[in-house]
Structure formats: structure tokens, C-alpha cells
Amino acid sequence: DAGITQSPRHKVTETGTPVTLRCHQTENHRYMYWYRQDPGHGLRLIHYSYGVKDTDKGEVSDGYSVSRSKTEDFLLTLESATSSQTSVYFCAITTGPEYGYTFGSGTRLTVV
């Protein structure tokens, strides 16, 4: 969809292990975002990027880090996974102000 893919689609990991989720876009968009979605909370911004090596924190950034070494890739790392980080993670790009965000298909992460 609109050149944005996430990997993996599903992952189960153990508490305390590091996990990296990948978002890849082919649209050359400057802005990329990582959200998590949980029942009752909607989508909450974790981190965002406005260019290569330019990233900043969102509202729920604790326990997460990001990197963007190339325009097309935005990586989200859970440094030491906890059960509270069990969630569905969405990457998004902005295609233009009249279209809002375009989302990737999501990664369902379970921390056991």
C-alpha cells in the first residue's frame, strides 16, 4: 500500500530481549512515524522522524529508540521488551496534507 511495508508482521518475544521492527518506504517521504495501538487508547505516537538522522520523541517513547540512517528505512527498537509493550505497532508516512497519513499493515508484537 502506497509503498510502505513493515516487518515482521507478527513476533513473539521474551521479556528482557531486544526487538527491532522495520518500516520501509519507497515514496521518498521526509516524515515517518511509529505508533502503537492498544484497546481504549487509540493510536499513540512513539517516535517520529523528519529526515535522515533527525528523530524525536512522541508521547509514549519510554523504552523505545529509533534510527533512520536512510530516507527509506525507519527502525523501532525495544531495548528490553516488557509485557506492557505487547501491542500492534504501525508505521506511517505523510503523503501530503490533503491525504493525512498512510499506514503500514502493522506488526503484532507479543511479549511473554
Binding site: 487509540g42 523528519y50 496534507p97 491525504y99 499506514f103 503500514g104 499493515s105
Partner: protein
């Protein structure tokens, strides 16, 4: 603190009914209001509203914004089972990174 509130949180209707979904917001630097539909996967964009009183329509869906009272409604007429989804309201913040604040969503179920 910026926030977006949606009501109701869930709704069950019969096919053919008309539904109205509500979204109110408190955002310091309002830029736009967006509606998304989320079925099983990623949210998909429906509308973006920036001006009060101008209705946007797409088939059986329509939406309008009231910037004075800080709310928007999404109407769906002659509902069909395919309209069953979570409807997300989001408000664009006028900061440089196209920040978007999401509401918790309204879960709509349309039964035959």
C-alpha cells in the same frame, strides 16, 4: 494537554440505519481534522477537514467540522455490513512535523 474524544465508543446498528459518530477536540494549534476507517488492518484515510461548515462527502459517508464548538461528526447513511469497522478521528497539530493526535475510536458493528 491536547486530546481528542470520540463518542460513542461502540455502536451496534441494523443494516439500513443512519449513524452519527462524534469527535470533539482540545488542541492548542489546530490545523486539520481527519477521519479514518480501520477494519482488520491499518487505518485508511476517509476525510480531511480544515474549514468550518463545509461538508465533505464520499458516497454514503459525510463529515462536517465546527471549529467554534471544536467538534466534528461523521454520518453514514443506509449502513451496510461492510461499514463495520473502527472509525478513528484525529486532529492535526500545526507544528512542523505534521503531528496528529488520535482519538480512541468508535467501534461500529452493522448487523443484517
Amino acid at each position: 494537554e491536547d486530546k481528542v474524544v470520540q463518542s460513542p465508543l461502540s455502536l451496534v446498528v441494523h443494516e439500513g440505519d443512519t449513524v452519527t459518530l462524534n469527535c470533539s477536540y482540545e488542541v492548542t494549534n489546530f490545523r486539520s481534522l481527519l477521519w479514518y476507517k480501520q477494519e482488520k488492518k491499518a487505518p485508511t484515510f476517509l476525510f480531511m477537514l480544515t474549514s468550518s461548515g463545509i461538508e465533505k462527502k464520499s458516497g454514503r459517508l459525510s463529515s462536517i467540522l465546527d471549529k467554534k464548538e471544536l467538534f466534528s461528526i461523521l454520518n453514514i447513511t443506509a449502513t451496510q455490513t461492510g461499514d463495520s469497522a473502527i472509525y478513528l478521528c484525529a486532529v492535526g497539530d500545526g507544528t512542523s512535523y505534521d503531528k496528529v493526535i488520535f482519538g480512541p475510536g468508535t467501534s461500529l458493528s452493522v448487523i443484517p
